[in-house]
Symmetry: C2
Subunit: 176 residues, 2 copies
């Protein structure tokens, strides 16, 4: 149990782990606005779930019941959405959320970046914002479950698979 | 993403996955009460955190700040405690809790059974109660992070490590 406990007892890092601006209610990422829209991050949970489903459609995820998506957002500890802003027009281009006990542990779910905006470092920036916010809430144990093709993506952000042999496990209905 | 989505879309199992009695506010496990105290399960979050810390001490876990333990219990979606009852005397002998988005995902944390009560199937019963309660809340994706020596314990309960190559990952402060 030493691994868990060392994390439980650890203090928040005092060194900055991201170069991004902090999220008050929202934050903007600097880009060349002459050619690209500005990228905005927001912690606001009031997200149009139909727009979110469109984003999830764009990466090929199956549809989920809207009622449950709304509930999941409401009961997530942290939600960060990423938007492209061009003038008055704002488009949802990324999303992530985390469940938490508000004290020790957080688990990140539903990380998605629109295919048109992938490969520009925006997914990494989204995750850095998630980590920064969770750390600012004194959450020391930040976890996630990564599909095989994104393990290296998360590794670059400081996540380690199976530390000290700890295994992520999923319960399967009717598997017994 | 097919794995996640098939779970998101799955319906709760209609077949019973445990032989235990259901938890109203609490449930009792039948034992030979002439020689052993009765085992009681409870979902009540009003737990004496000092008694819980004693239990965690007994299995060698490091102390955690009481304030944070209280908060973690308060913001857990599900807490199940296990008690030995002998007459009017009730002793905390097991504990588990889960974080959740109340819709799709739950993650089980802090599973502990007092050493004097290990090896009697009580840990399995505690976990079956957790699974049953989470399923009754329509949570389809039940996850946990297992230390190497308890992977087989969870496997027997229907948990699978790294399904379809999905990796449990932990963020390490200052690892970048």
């Amino acid at each position: 149990m030493s691994f868990w406990k060392s994390l439980f007892n650890s203090q928040p890092s005092t060194s900055a782990t991201t170069t991004a601006v902090g999220l008050g209610s929202q934050a903007a990422l600097e880009r060349d606005s002459s050619t690209e829209g500005q990228i905005i991050f927001s912690k606001d949970k009031e997200i149009d779930v139909y727009e979110l489903e469109e984003l999830c459609d764009a990466v090929g995820w199956s549809r989920r019941p809207i009622r449950k998506v709304k509930k999941a957002i409401q009961f997530s500890f942290l939600v960060i959405s990423m938007w492209e802003q061009r003038g008055a027009y704002r488009r949802l281009i990324g999303f992530s959320r985390a469940t938490s006990d508000h004290a020790f542990n957080a688990t990140i779910w539903d990380v998605v970046v629109h295919p048109e905006f992938q490969g520009q470092g925006l997914g990494k920036e989204l995750m850095r914002q998630m980590i920064k916010e969770l750390r600012s809430e004194d959450i020391s144990n930040i976890t996630l479950f990564a599909d095989p093709h994104v393990v290296d993506f998360y590794r670059q952000l400081g996540f380690r698979p199976d530390p000290e042999g700890i295994k992520g496990m999923f319960w399967y209905p009717n598997s017994r």
